[in-house]
Subunit: 223 residues, 6 copies
Amino acid sequence: MGKTVLVVAAHTDDEALGCGGTIARHVAEGNSVYAVFLADGVTSRPDSTQEESKKRNNAAAKAHEILGIRKSYLLGFPDNKMDGVALLEIVQKLEAVLDEIKPQIIYTHHHGDLNVDHEITHKAVITACRPVPKSPIQEIYSFEVLSATEWNTPGVDPFIPNVFVDISSYIEKKIEALTAYHMEMRSAPHSRSIANSERQAILRGSTVGVSAAEGFSLVRLIR
Amino acid sequence: MGKTVLVVAAHTDDEALGCGGTIARHVAEGNSVYAVFLADGVTSRPDSTQEESKKRNNAAAKAHEILGIRKSYLLGFPDNKMDGVALLEIVQKLEAVLDEIKPQIIYTHHHGDLNVDHEITHKAVITACRPVPKSPIQEIYSFEVLSATEWNTPGVDPFIPNVFVDISSYIEKKIEALTAYHMEMRSAPHSRSIANSERQAILRGSTVGVSAAEGFSLVRLIR
Amino acid sequence: MGKTVLVVAAHTDDEALGCGGTIARHVAEGNSVYAVFLADGVTSRPDSTQEESKKRNNAAAKAHEILGIRKSYLLGFPDNKMDGVALLEIVQKLEAVLDEIKPQIIYTHHHGDLNVDHEITHKAVITACRPVPKSPIQEIYSFEVLSATEWNTPGVDPFIPNVFVDISSYIEKKIEALTAYHMEMRSAPHSRSIANSERQAILRGSTVGVSAAEGFSLVRLIR
Amino acid sequence: MGKTVLVVAAHTDDEALGCGGTIARHVAEGNSVYAVFLADGVTSRPDSTQEESKKRNNAAAKAHEILGIRKSYLLGFPDNKMDGVALLEIVQKLEAVLDEIKPQIIYTHHHGDLNVDHEITHKAVITACRPVPKSPIQEIYSFEVLSATEWNTPGVDPFIPNVFVDISSYIEKKIEALTAYHMEMRSAPHSRSIANSERQAILRGSTVGVSAAEGFSLVRLIR
Amino acid sequence: MGKTVLVVAAHTDDEALGCGGTIARHVAEGNSVYAVFLADGVTSRPDSTQEESKKRNNAAAKAHEILGIRKSYLLGFPDNKMDGVALLEIVQKLEAVLDEIKPQIIYTHHHGDLNVDHEITHKAVITACRPVPKSPIQEIYSFEVLSATEWNTPGVDPFIPNVFVDISSYIEKKIEALTAYHMEMRSAPHSRSIANSERQAILRGSTVGVSAAEGFSLVRLIR
Amino acid sequence: MGKTVLVVAAHTDDEALGCGGTIARHVAEGNSVYAVFLADGVTSRPDSTQEESKKRNNAAAKAHEILGIRKSYLLGFPDNKMDGVALLEIVQKLEAVLDEIKPQIIYTHHHGDLNVDHEITHKAVITACRPVPKSPIQEIYSFEVLSATEWNTPGVDPFIPNVFVDISSYIEKKIEALTAYHMEMRSAPHSRSIANSERQAILRGSTVGVSAAEGFSLVRLIR
């Protein structure tokens, strides 16, 4: 029987950058994948419009269809301003989603990302996913996001992958999903480009001798 | 002449879990022990009532009598929401208590606990206890609290004890105090159980060859 | 089809202390478990005799039968003096075993243990298990050993578990295996006692809400 | 052609304590040095008056003249209460200054300082100075401030200098600037004294074999 | 006037993998670059022949010509067995080279590499380059080497770059030098391939917004 | 009744640099202080003579008389070449001294020092001082040594003091002892000078508001 997977990200596009290939592989292997986004990703920009917000949501819908995500939740916390919200409030909204989905596997942001929403998302996840008896959650992984994970002060909670998911057969799906988010991507040599994401997947793969991989840092694994 | 000891905890019951045996030993050895609690420990629960708050305070009163705590201070910051208060405000209230008690020895939370109130309590303590000339404070220790200290993301500010207080003769007092807080304890295999607290004391003790101990991480020791 | 598991330990008894319950569970679940021991565990003692060495090997044979280990290899490096051997020599002997067994899963010592043989065993494992293309190895875990892992200088490569294997149904097998090694165990309150090992299993379990667990630190997981 | 240098500090006097000698050397070598202060440094004190604030600003003006700082910006965030402001707001104000100055070299606080304003200043800097294509910023350094950098919990993001700027010919300028801030200095054996600052410069210098130096921790260097 | 640069590597090819582009850039900018290799890189292989050793030296000679290295020193310590040599002996031989070259800038291995010769090379460098008065050495950088730096136990002295040298105009020279070492390179998806080295340079570059870069970890910078 | 203190250092003069003031204070307070030196400190120098060795021992004798050290042990391991000795051999010789002295308090080198003998001395101490039941050892502290502790690669096991011993009344004794070792001291701005040692004591003192202090990193404290 398939497992239930939940991706908890700050903004739409983080899920594709961080674990798009792994999502596609989970789906291909018969698991059910859900996603929840804590912030919306556009309102912090001075010139953000409702139009833009709609475009972003459409891009997300398309990307999620490509990856095979069954359903997405938008919690709507203020973009790039989640440090102004009490953690407990975020945790409680996330717990409601967890109660509904009952996932066994969680993917979320690395706590050492430069982006303040990423850091808070990680904290909310580990708080909401306390390992109490009878909790369904068995696995929690942190992913990396180009232009956020590698831009913090060097040495401050660095991302060091110890889990490598072979996405050799899913790298194309990942690229396709990122293409749906082309509005959020930048041109090389900016860090957040589609070409870089592919390059990163090949390098992470070569670290463990496969053609393409996504790297994760293990938070918790219960067997 | 006896020393003056101050335990600074987020919630009542943290003092018993973290350093109940050490408190009892300090008292037995003629030191005066005071405690200050920054948050109240119940109001964050959706169904918290005044009745519950009263019960919690009664439990604390009983536990403190068992341990021999001379006087307790309740600063009343919002439970599990201390991240919404400016640190300076917490520090100033804590400084007022420090000015009154003039402790030589401080016990407080580990900064790497999952619980946000614990983390902030630690920050408030080290800020309020700056080692300026003529400060009476000579020793600061961090303690561990079951279901908070071991539940943070692995590797993020881990608790690593380097101080071991032999509580072989005081483990019963600690258990008695925790029993007063039975309302806050959980049944095994939940981490926060009385049986686990005893188990932890025996393991910490065996690390250094005694029957039971509480482990601490040294923050500062001036001789 | 079952997986092939290899435990790489410095001395006989380390495998039972570190992952005895997990070995028993692997066996019960249809996996094949092998073990290799790099040093012999007795020759460093000033009064060690051939008789003792034989007793130790008999104890190991019995413990391995209890746990269900299919075959053990003794590489015979000098006990507690492995820092006098070139790492390459150890690695090459270990590679020969790996070539024969072709394991998918490896359990070995934590690199931060106080015992010099443990530290070197870990280094030999990660060197011999380089993740080149076509390597069969998919998972590497570090385990903890009472009276070695917790006795290093605090803060120097601390053991921080992020993998928890539920051994609630296998704790008795672990205790039985340790009993076979009673010659190597000490009486409480020494850290290396059977009672402590059980206590540790219950505490590690309670961290994640199960009755008993062994904790591991993930080195590498490839999926 | 000279380079453009920007010092980003929480409070006036931090720039002199942290990198006063380096500023003077930059000026002597033909570089243009600017400074921006995020908080004002006096309003958190219970008895602070407008008079005091004026005195502090006069001291800063004098110190900056001594050091050769071309122009200073005061962003006016609430002193010792910057944890109450959303990071994004601070970042945006800082970005406006960066856009105007276009510095190649940045000096700012260490992220591990006890003072909450220092920590937030560091975060604001690395967020505002993201290394996007065409950014003028090539070098970012963290400095240490007596009575803040060494007073955090030991082991929490310690300041470890790897850059040493020889200020043998500029130590007198630094002392002179600190003398302008005499109101903020304390008497020995308080950590924040002029004598200590000189002592620290000589010790940092001796680490690398010169008469006096300021130590920095490198955040980023692009060549 | 040009600076004098010394690359201290364990084996020929490490200098090209670690800082080949940076070497080429130094040469292009008028600096003199020397290299010293502590081990020979072939004798540890069971089937190594004198023929192979000669080929390796020829490859190195060609690569060094491509990069513009002025002169190379081979110290001849036993390949992959440098842990069998007393550190002092290595340090003294290295000091002799340093005395001859008198470099201002040093590039060497990262201390956290899996390869034991890399780790020892780093230790020898920092021991031989103690910052005593009048030492000519002003800058020391650690580089990364594919299939060594990323293969150590995750979290053990990770390589975290904080210096980025733009090699956009020198990436071709680096590739050319690696091609001279084709005997030492592997095919993708092995980590140590020419394609991966190029990919890594582009990713390191994109981290800071340039087309290609080599990443370094700063050991010491004196100005 | 007085306590028994043992200083375990690599070379004579390390005890005076690391904890000379603390030794003098222990003696003044009625404790008995012993010292053991694992290496001799001169034979690694190419031109070392028996004459020099004798001078060094005379200096040590004088310094120990000044500080009040009751008796010293010289274990005679090869200077700066202790990495060529099996750790077990060093541990066994040290254990013999521990068995004779039965100290409650130990001072030794920091494990992160650049000097290889310092690092090994620390390892030997924590191995020989395993906290088994009935061990007399209650306190172990690491000290810092100018020109060794601050010269390792930045960030590699940094020395971070959390214990501060007020030596305001003993700084003169420390200086006097260092003067006996004038042969080993260097002139400023070399790190290892008497003036620097005094400066360091005043700075360490000012960190905690006293006139002079020695800083230590706590290894273990059992109460």
